[in-house]
Symmetry: C2
């Protein structure tokens, strides 16, 4: 495709603005019609750009979805960071982490269903943004466990890696939008029960 | 509906055979065309009965699906019972329970996809057979925990109910066909990791 041969630097100084404009319009359009049902042609018509022009800035519909998804995941990361920032102990951090993730996921489902659906596609198709998010959460869990081990709150016999993986697995059905949709009515009480079980499993 | 006013005892001695015949034909038909896409009319045509005749024996398509689902769940219950029967400890029973459930669910997905889909509908719509199965598993977990507590294997501080519920919640994403489909590739290693986490949480 000749379009693809345009080098990024040649796209000019307004590229950033145009990318933002496409993402903004796409967010609205996906929000109304759903990510899966929308084509790049639909988007082009809605924005008033040519399809070829959009392809100058994004390789595919997924590339636009990725930006929307990454923006939302950055917000989620901030919510999580704030939730655990002033927790006095590693145990409390784990509880708050689980609660914040469950609440944010449920909020998205009930208040921004179309964005939830993009997140579900991202998770199903293992988009880089979704994979990076999972990796960050997995690392955050490991950091909290290390902190708790150093403070003498948590046992140290189990390999750190195993502990972190297992805890991530307990949380995953409430983090992953594909799975969370089947537990929405019990998610908040489940987060409490499962946090307690996790903390019992960590006791020295 | 006048059909519904026929009392069960008046249906005659061959009722059981005819019910079996309908269930058998329905299992094959659902297996080819899927449960959701098949109507009672389709079934009637395939079996060579009138639709009204089928309605003499089953109130609805779901009632037929329920029998298929209940048959399969009875098989699953037997697999689980056999898996844990000769386990030397309560800990080993929990491990084997988790493994047997995950394996049976994965087998169903890969080898009898249409039946898996009926199970998914049963779970989504909370059919009595699916609800009873979940309740049985929940009780089985509680019995194993009681056994382990009595043997001194497991801690006794946490309320029994809370412990059993939390463990059931850890296992549920691998039991529920709606959720299992998103973890198939990691289900068997997850069952091992999560069993170990559960056992750490139970240590006295």
């Amino acid at each position: 495709m000749t379009i693809q041969t345009n080098e990024t630097p040649a796209r000019g100084p307004s590229e950033h603005n145009i990318r933002d404009q496409v993402v903004e319009a796409a967010t609205a359009h996906f929000g109304h019609f759903g990510y899966e049902k929308t084509t790049v042609s639909d988007l082009a018509k809605a924005i008033g750009f040519s399809k070829a022009y959009i392809y100058k800035f994004f390789d595919s519909k997924q590339a636009i979805g990725e930006v929307i998804c990454a923006n939302r995941l950055a917000q989620l990361a901030e919510i999580v960071d704030q939730a655990i920032a002033d927790a006095p102990t590693a145990s409390e951090k784990l509880r708050r982490l689980f609660r914040a993730l469950t609440e944010a996921g449920s909020d998205l489902f009930f208040h921004d269903r179309m964005l939830y659906d993009i997140a579900a596609v991202a998770s199903r198709d293992n988009w880089p943004s979704a994979a990076a998010h999972q990796q960050r959460l997995r690392q955050l869990i490991q950091l909290i466990i290390q902190e708790g081990r150093q403070a003498g709150e948590f046992e140290r016999k189990t390999p750190l890696d195993e502990t972190a993986n297992a805890i991530y697995l307990v949380m995953r059905p409430y983090i992953c939008p594909l799975q969370l949709q089947y537990s929405l009515d019990t998610a908040s009480s489940a987060a409490v029960l499962l946090s307690s079980l996790i903390l019992r499993s960590l006791s020295p």
